[in-house]
Homo-oligomer: 297 residues x 2
């Protein structure tokens, strides 16, 4: 069985690992996301050391974005216009490819996680589904007709406009581009900005969670109406609050109001909107899955 390397490149930390799948993650290193030079060197050093024990067949990189995942583009493998300091217009794949000399799969963190869930997690056997992460930001990846969705570039689901309930919620949203878009109203910083408390310190019975579920459900209904996914997987730090799931199920159900006559939506909402099957490993296993896919025609 081929051995793969994976890089989960997040906004705050890098996770590098080698393995063949969820039952076989052999080594892992984590370090903070600083400059591209530092992070890329540390990743290369880790994989070189690992490859001395057993060669890597391919490497996957699942990165924060926006990125250029189009192999035909001159800036393929770049982090493009991120507001993150030091990282705008960074060639991510190039130096790693040169140093390691193996095929590289490259995509957004959320498309990677979607592929990992398809391969080993909560999306096995499906061909059209969505993976969302709700943490310091809100991002979504998707598989449609058995392939990851890119289209024009890649989805940017966090930036959908949703109805803002100004009467109940005077918080203006934190997105520097759109203010009160989906991310601006419902990612972690919105909870903190609105209530003055970090999300994980807000008790489950606090009204914050009903409002959070309401906003999350609005975006989910948009996704259901547009992409018609067979399942929606929701991970990320905010979703570690497991009590959010039933609130979200109720909100989505009542917003759809029976219009879409699908048994999954009418009777099985709790198996339709679910946490990641791979738990906190969804990210790094997604990167391993991207490596595996890079070997396929």
């Amino acid at each position: 069985m081929s051995l793969f390397g994976g890089i989960e490149a997040g906004g705050t930390k890098f996770v590098c690992a080698v393995g063949t799948g969820p039952e076989d993650l052999r080594a892992e290193v984590r370090f903070p996301t600083t400059t591209p030079e530092e992070c890329i060197s540390q990743a290369i050093a880790f994989f070189r050391e690992q490859a001395q024990r057993e060669p890597l067949a391919a490497l996957g990189i699942a990165s924060f974005g926006p990125v250029d995942p189009n192999p035909k583009s001159p800036t393929f493998g770049y982090v493009t216009t991120t507001p993150k300091p030091h990282w705008a217009h960074t060639d991510f794949v190039g130096p790693i490819s040169q140093a390691l000399g193996v095929p590289i799969g490259f995509d957004t963190d959320v498309n990677g996680a979607a592929l990992g869930e398809y391969r080993w997690g909560a999306a096995q056997g499906l061909d059209t589904f969505v993976y969302l992460t709700i943490g310091t930001g809100l991002g979504g990846g998707a598989m449609v007709n058995g392939k990851l969705l890119h289209g024009l570039m890649h989805p940017e689901m966090g930036h959908m406009p949703i109805p803002h309930n100004w009467d109940a919620d005077p918080y203006a949203g934190f997105c520097p581009y759109h203010g009160d878009c989906w991310e601006g109203l419902s990612a972690g910083p919105a909870l903190e900005g609105r209530w003055g408390v970090r999300a994980y310190n807000i008790p489950p019975e606090h009204p914050a969670w009903e409002l959070e579920a309401h906003y999350l459900a609005l975006g989910l209904v948009n996704i259901i109406c547009t992409l018609s996914p067979q399942r929606i997987i929701m991970g990320g730090g905010v979703m570690d609050q497991q009590h959010l799931f039933p609130l979200i199920h109720n909100n989505v159900y009542s917003m759809l109001n029976g219009y879409i006559q699908s048994r999954q939506l009418l009777e099985n909402m709790d198996s339709y909107i679910v946490p990641p099957g791979l738990g906190n490993q969804a990210g790094v296993l997604g990167a391993i899955a991207l490596a595996e896919a890079a070997l396929q025609p």
Copy 2:
């Protein structure tokens, strides 16, 4: 070259035609959408007569919905839960298949139109795009990764929640399920309900159109963030008001606010959101394209 039949089954009229493509539509008949029995008999009679001259290789049906387009489902080929009188839970494909004995392609009207635009119109050469119709209702079809999007069932883009500008617009929306969803605020009946005048009687300089463009743009931005289409094609009676296009372009551009760094969105909006290449024939040619596709493996 094989000869195909196509049925564009709309909420108000049926269009049946035979041909091989846009340059070769040989015969066409139109009749009002009454009961399933009447409409299906009229369609069968037309195609039987046509097939006496030259046999049909396949037939395509592009239908108002919701429909069941899943060939593995026991209710494949049905119009399912439509509020339209007489048509709920109607087997549409079954009796036509029995009468004509040819392969039948069956999908939503908007997925059909998307396939027609891909085959002969404004989406040639793309693999991920959206086709919208804005008329008495608002519906969307999509191709992703070179195949029509079905997923759970099929998209229902008209029923997305969008921000309702209550200050400028006290009109409550006309959707019987969701009130002020995208369709409820921006399809033809919303224009008439809000302004008291049929859409085609509202002059181009009337403020109705700026508000209409604003609402349409909100849904378009949702679609761009979620599906990442390479192009969006907008047809239907409301979009016959060609002066809407530049208003929509401006609204989408300002709502995105430069976040998605794609040349199509930043510089070429007027070739990104476009009218159908097949004009008013997008519907019936979509049905012909579904017939053609039914012959392919």
